[in-house]
Symmetry: C2
Subunit: 636 residues, 2 copies
């Protein structure tokens, strides 16, 4: 047990156990003939922690997520920012002949970075591998997954290893903030080499997580904290892949103003792999009552008023932990001017179509009557929901940008500014990246939130690593990248699932009147674009005023010129700014035909940091393991 402590949260110095005898075939470092070993000296330093006799204690791997919907594989992990490394522990409940675990840009099995564990029937091996564009596996010439332990326990087989965020090996995935697409596969028969593995025949899948959890201090809860569980009544999860369940809950009569200061998921045991994400929305105070409901969100039976329950109170997604408000702030609910009705929405992801599973999951709110100094607020950054912002079909990475301008923050923010502490990124199905940057006097200052592997299927509220202070006159620029490769028609901005959005909901304090700070291209300049396309291409694009913007976009022949010029338009034309108290009420001022913020200094791309890893470059590519006994492994 004492040794297990050496892995995980505290991450003290580790020990090597190089000389302990082992009962099974001695462990050797195997040189692969295909690799280059012309170097003067090859040496190996592997940090080993032998995990003996009992399971590693879960507290040292504070983050946990099931990898597959059957729950055969469970990932726990920890992040060491001083070491710039992630420690992984995988529990394989029924170990067969090996495991493939790795990361790739968007969860594909091609061009992936992999940690491989496999056995040929006699011996087992662990190594760093990669898959090429055809999905064929190869050993990596530089070994960057460092095996720390391998051990049997009653509940399954544990594998513990470490990976630096950045390895500077072009075959390796760069672990960044935001979403990471993890992939897994189970080997169901022995293999004699990686080349013999046909990835497409494996039991396999992907799981999205935020690997680099922020390293922030959790504020203490006050003594008068109360809890309230907003959970579905015991329902049967529909036997279909995707279900959005809606449930209306109600606060007590005359419930006074409180601060929500924390919330956490409540998941029915056994359904951990099915509950994909959950949100609690507060309904609009304009209705005195909202009908009770428990059913599908897209049902025709759903009362129309549920559509007015859109103010986010809490949001959780798979892999997320409890959400704590900073100690200075809480999210107000209850009291006059606040609706008593809450809508719980649960996304069940049931790809194996389990039948008859009962569920009563939901969210537990921790709240207090001792109000904290500040009410927290939520502000929408990004693009206005309007068809003037459009993405041509067949684009692999088309960028749209929404601006919260200096003029708006000047008008709407207090002199002392606000502090952003969390952020939830939002697009519809074509979204691939979202980044918000804070700029001051034309110079980019810092990234507010960035997800370069964003998925519309994984929209968590994420705590920021540090508070971002925004002052009057600052600019907040939100950039969304879209992929429309599989579309044949233009995608315009709007509310529909096949239309697009570009939003960053930032959570901040103290609350201000500014609810919305977004933009869209000036419609007059868009009209000039339609004109120009018409004349340049000898095509008949109807520019008659009675034709709608989506119709005009639809008639454009999408050749490279028309695509390029649309990009040029969006990065040149003045904008219409929505600097609003609520979605309908603007701050007073002139907000049309505003100049685009000019950026004179951009943030540097972070230089990949390649720390002197304990392993050599290139390392001996394979570590042979002893999996027969309960003794862990060693090197000879």
């Amino acid at each position: 047990m004492a040794k297990a402590r050496r892995v995980g949260a505290v991450l003290p110095s580790m020990q090597t156990h190089g000389s302990t005898p082992c009962p099974c075939p001695s462990f050797r470092l195997r040189e692969l003939a295909s690799m280059y070993f012309t170097m003067v000296a090859v040496f190996l330093v592997i940090l080993v922690v032998a995990l003996k006799g009992s399971a590693p204690r879960s507290t040292y791997f504070p983050y946990k997520v099931p990898l597959d919907p059957q729950g055969l594989l469970e990932l726990s992990w920890n992040v060491s920012y001083p070491e710039q490394a992630v420690y992984f522990q995988i529990l394989i409940r029924e170990f067969k002949f090996g495991l493939l675990f790795g990361m790739s840009d968007r969860g594909e099995f091609e061009n992936a970075d992999l940690a491989m564990l496999w056995t040929d029937g006699n011996s087992s091996y662990f190594g760093d591998a990669w898959s090429d564009a055809e999905g064929q596996l190869h050993m990596d010439s530089q070994q960057d997954y460092q095996l720390l332990g391998a051990q049997k326990a009653p509940e399954g087989f544990y594998l513990v290893f470490r990976r630096a965020f950045s390895t500077c090996d072009p075959k390796d995935y760069l672990i960044e903030d935001g979403t990471v697409h993890l992939i897994y596969g189970i080997l169901e028969r022995p293999v004699h080499s990686l080349h013999a593995i046909n990835i497409s025949t494996l039991y396999r899948g992907l799981q999205r997580v935020q690997l680099l959890k922020p390293n922030i201090t959790i504020p203490e809860l006050p003594s008068d904290v109360k809890t309230m569980e907003i959970t579905t009544p015991s329902i049967v999860i529909p036997s279909q892949e995707t279900t959005y369940w809606c449930y209306i809950a109600e606060l007590p009569d005359s419930f006074p103003k409180h601060h929500i200061i924390m919330y956490e998921p409540v998941i029915t045991a056994g359904n951990e792999a099915l509950v994909h994400h959950m949100e609690i929305f507060q309904c609009s105070a304009e209705f005195d009552s909202i009908p009770h409901y428990s059913g599908l969100c897209d049902s025709k039976m759903k009362p129309e008023r549920l559509n007015y329950c859109r103010h986010v109170l809490a949001a959780w997604a798979m892999g997320a932990q409890a959400f704590y408000y900073p100690k200075e702030a809480g999210l107000a609910f209850g009291g006059p001017g606040s609706s008593r009705y809450l809508r719980l929405e649960i996304h069940y992801h049931n790809p194996l179509i389990f039948k008859g599973r009962r569920d009563s999951s939901g969210i537990r709110l921790y709240y207090t009557a001792s109000l904290r100094p500040h009410d927290a607020g939520i502000m929408e950054l990004g693009l206005v929901y309007t068809p003037v912002m459009a993405v041509p079909p067949g684009e692999t990475s088309f960028i749209l940008t929404g601006y919260c301008t200096d003029k708006c923050t000047q008008k709407a923010l207090p002199t002392d500014g606000i502090r952003i502490f969390a952020s939830q990124l939002h697009t519809h199905l074509a979204g691939r990246k979202v980044v918000t940057v804070l700029s001051r006097d034309g110079r980019e200052q810092q990234v507010v939130n960035a997800d370069r592997h964003y998925s519309p299927h994984f929209q968590e509220i994420r705590m920021l690593k540090e508070l971002v202070a925004v002052f009057p006159g600052d600019e907040l620029i939100t950039t969304c990248t879209y992929n429309t490769e599989d579309r044949s028609k233009v995608t315009v901005g709007g509310f529909g699932i096949m239309e697009e959005m570009c939003v960053n909901y930032v959570h901040y304090y103290p609350q201000t009147q500014l609810e919305l700070c977004k933009s869209a291209v000036d419609p007059g300049y868009l009209h000039r674009y339609f004109n120009l396309v018409n004349r340049f291409n000898d095509e008949e694009v109807c520019m008659c005023p009675q034709v709608s913007v989506p119709q005009q976009f639809s008639s454009i022949p999408w050749n490279t010129f028309n695509r390029d010029v649309l990009k040029s338009l969006y990065s040149f034309a003045p904008i219409s700014v929505h600097c609003n108290k609520s979605s309908a009420v603007r701050f007073p001022g002139e907000w049309e035909k505003q100049p685009l913020p000019s950026i004179t200094k951009t943030l540097k791309e972070p230089q990949p940091h390649c720390p002197p890893t304990p392993g050599p470059h290139p390392a001996v590519p394979v570590v042979k393991l002893c999996l027969g006994g309960g003794k862990g492994f060693q090197r000879s």
Copy 2:
């Protein structure tokens, strides 16, 4: 002497001399406090070749160039393609207190990769360093210049070291094909640390070379080879920085057809650092005689007919060696239909304004009457010299592309194709990069020639590493990148020095009728662009037909939209193709409004190859040297 052989051309395995005693203060590996040494183990392997008692033999460093105009520093080098490394030898004629030698994108002293040799008065040190954007020096945390030898000799001090082409260290320069900008500086007083060096006060400069000379077999010369020297009569090099000297030479009467099969520079001893480049042009056969002349090329006294001497027979630039034609081909000269007159042009670069230096440099032609199977030919690829191809002002890297289309090669090349063996890239002053790629059926096949650090001041004819076969139906796409940051007006295509060109003169065999395969944007589409700019920007760009293209370009307000749309135009609009037998005669066919070649598969960027270097990562950053005796150096 035997040991000196171990460095250089053959590059066999090297020996370490780790334990030989040394008479001066013992050599130690010094750890710099500012570096991170948290690694588990730090170790060092330095390959050492002790150069004792005599100078390294120059034959092992076959390439040589003076670094500075006084000839105080002389660089020799060799390239090992198996090792993917360059071996450098620097001769410092008067060693003072150190040397700075390195590489940077375009010869600037900021953001440069440096090998540093310095002494604090007692001891001397060697290390890999870099300069930041302000020109401040820093030791590199990864040491990639490997010291191989350091030694005194009667003629000066020799320093020998090695650098891999690619190190994967972001602080290091990537050594690529084409031009490399070398920089040097001499330390004239002792320094105690790199931080104390103020680069701007050094005796310093830059030298351009092609470091990665192609590794090709030199064909044997036939027994009947004759030589002819085309050299200036003994002239006095003018005491000014830049001189272009023109001299007319004459072939004997009734000189029959011969093949030039090799040529080499003839440089007057002592002027090696002044003769920058030389070319021999053959005059046009349309004139029976050309007046004799020896004088400045830009003199008003120069006979006008010399302007008709433009057919390149030979070209040499500093750092280049003898130029050998492939054994199957020679360059025809002499015989009927060939002018007897040759123009020698020498560019003298005399920045220190030496006075009274006499010179009779030139080129020695090796030719034979036993004609080889093929006449060699020269073909012009790239852009037509026309103002329709323009670069806006203030651009850091604006790209123009010229196409030799499938239709033209289909019409003009023989079924068996042609073989390109050499290439000379050409732009005017704004040119920064030139690349020609061969494409077949829309798929890029190979790079014909690429210079990503191209300088208009260094236009050698370069042998290709391998013959490039071009068949009917192939496309040759030439891309030039321009920098107009320091210009306030548009730069249009044309002959003037402030206008631009984008040309690759390819040398090939067998000679065909195709002399010119170039393109330019269709003028009608450019007219649509002027129209569009006019309407979109509410500006008055006069589109009247009587206004010239340069005038129309001059009246454009260069905002981002107009820039972007010009780029879009050039990558979309059809082209006018010049598929010509000579500059005036086109092959029959329709060459106007041709579609741009579409590329469905581009060549992959070469992955930086980071071989397992003998030195560790990160290495111990400084090697302390013994420079007092004649014994070379060792490690302790």
